[in-house]
């Protein structure tokens, strides 16, 4: 019984390290996807001037944003007659929709949504560009965090697991 428990513990510790490493990689991927999302919105506003609901519906059906589930949730809520910002805030409020983004990333998305649709085209393009710039900064921070911590986290996790196994068995 003790052996099984120790093995499970060491496995959990090793997995924890690997998961943290994966978490860092996924955050980078998500921020990269957010940058594509912002660029698509900017293009749609500039060249089609379609309304926010139309743009979101196009993004959901024609582009692959499955890794950003809050986009599809927001689109569905707007389809139910909820206002854009309420839909956007609600879709970002649930942790499972935004994991592994940090609170600061989510706050930036909320700030983007609060200005979306509220001004003329020039203002909208500036809003997109400003948030693109801010997300690029967050992306470079996330990449350096991944480069610094991802490998060590995995190694530390596996080593700690092995040490637990050796010490307790």
């Amino acid at each position: 019984m003790k052996t099984v428990a120790v093995m499970a513990l060491s496995f959990a510790v090793a997995c924890g390290g690997c998961l943290y490493s994966k978490h860092l990689e996924m955050r980078v991927q998500k921020i990269e996807k957010i940058l594509i999302f912002l660029s698509q919105i900017k293009t749609a506003i500039e060249f089609t001037a379609d309304n926010v609901e139309g743009i979101f519906s196009w993004l959901t059906t024609s582009c692959d944003f499955s890794s950003l589930p809050f986009v599809a949730i927001c689109t569905a809520k707007m389809g139910d007659g909820v206002s854009f910002f309420a839909s956007w805030s609600e879709s970002l409020s649930k942790r499972e929709n935004v994991v592994p983004l940090k609170k600061e990333d989510v706050a930036l998305l909320l700030s983007f949504g609060s200005a979306l649709g509220a001004t003329d085209s020039a203002g909208q393009i500036q809003n997109c560009e400003m948030h693109e710039k801010l997300f690029k900064e967050r992306l470079s921070a996330a990449v350096s965090e991944k480069n610094t911590l991802s490998k060590p986290a995995r190694v530390v996790g596996i080593l700690t697991g092995a040490i637990v196994l050796i010490l307790f068995l």
Partner: protein
């Protein structure tokens, strides 16, 4: 009532829920819903102006118990009318109105923002006038049969605001297209005649009808003449120099025009020199006047010769 509900869905939640319980017979007579910041919510009906009280009653005289429209109501309604996409409606906002789904027109005003001599935007929106668009199928039957009984000829609809000119034009388009089997082109600059949404006309304007949505009348008329070979071109609220020049070119191509103009009577019409020039040029052979206070009701039809006597 569906159309009315669709129109009020663009108003703020508070205002919409105050309107919902009102008597349907009353709502059927409402032509305009007027919202002004800090002022009572009012309805313009065929009979006059009616105000809503906080308790949901209707009154002819506003007092302290009136339902007052707040700045937040105006802001929310404005956002809803713009579908939360102000940039999509920048041109319309600078012109002072937005045509919403169903062809209802929301007049918007506030503080104008100028760039050079042109209004480029609006800040601090302080009032909204939602004009309810209706379809009265058959209202133009008598007029269509009189105007086009012998051959296709130009028809000018004259009337004061809220006399049903646009509603009448819509029905004439439908009848000319479906009953007379004529090729009809509608130049729907403000999107009020056909109420096109995502390329589909929300109002029934006939199966042989092409809708040029959002085109300026002058440009739309020329494009229709060049590319669509219409028998009849329909446009609302003519009067500008470009409109008149384009109509003049159109009549030279053998197209019959059906248009509407703001003029409550013969005298007012005679003061519109550009329209009179068009009539003299032979653009309109029949001139119909709509009755004030009784929507879509023709009070008199005269010929161009009689008018110019």
């Amino acid at each position: 009532m569906q159309r009315f509900k669709k129109a009020t869905s663009y108003l703020s939640k508070k205002v919409n829920s105050a309107i919902k319980p009102l008597n349907e017979d009353f709502l059927k007579t409402v032509c305009e819903i007027r919202m002004r910041t800090g002022k009572p919510l009012s309805f313009v009906t065929f009979e006059g102006i009616t105000y809503l009280t906080k308790s949901g009653r209707l009154t002819g005289i506003p007092n302290s118990s009136a339902f007052v429209v707040s700045g937040a109501d105006i802001k929310e309604s404005f956002q809803r009318i713009c579908e939360y996409s102000v940039y999509s409606y920048a041109k319309d906002i600078s012109q002072g109105f937005i045509t919403v789904g169903g062809g209802h027109r929301a007049g918007i005003y506030g503080t104008a923002v100028y760039e050079g001599k042109n209004i480029t935007g609006l800040r601090d929106v302080s009032g909204i006038n939602l004009r309810i668009s209706r379809e009265f199928k058959g209202c133009g039957a008598e007029l269509t049969s009189k105007a086009f009984s012998e051959n296709l000829q130009g028809l000018l609809l004259c009337g004061a605001p809220s006399t049903g000119k646009t509603t009448m034009l819509r029905d004439v388009a439908r009848l000319a297209s479906d009953m007379l089997f004529k090729k009809v082109a509608i130049i729907d600059e403000r999107g009020e005649i056909a109420a096109t949404s995502k390329g589909v006309a929300q109002n029934d304007v006939g199966i042989n009808t092409d809708v040029l949505d959002g085109y300026r009348k002058g440009e739309g008329i020329l494009q229709a003449v060049r590319t669509l070979s219409p028998n009849i071109i329909i446009c609302d609220e003519i009067g500008g120099k470009d409109d008149c020049d384009a109509i003049r070119q159109g009549i030279n191509s053998g197209v019959a025009f059906v248009a509407a103009v703001h003029a409550s009577g013969v005298d007012e019409l005679k003061n519109k020199s550009s329209v009179i020039k068009l009539i003299k040029a032979g653009a309109f052979q029949q001139i119909a006047f709509l009755q004030s206070g009784k929507p879509c009701c023709v009070s008199e039809i005269i010929t161009a010769k009689e008018l110019l006597k």
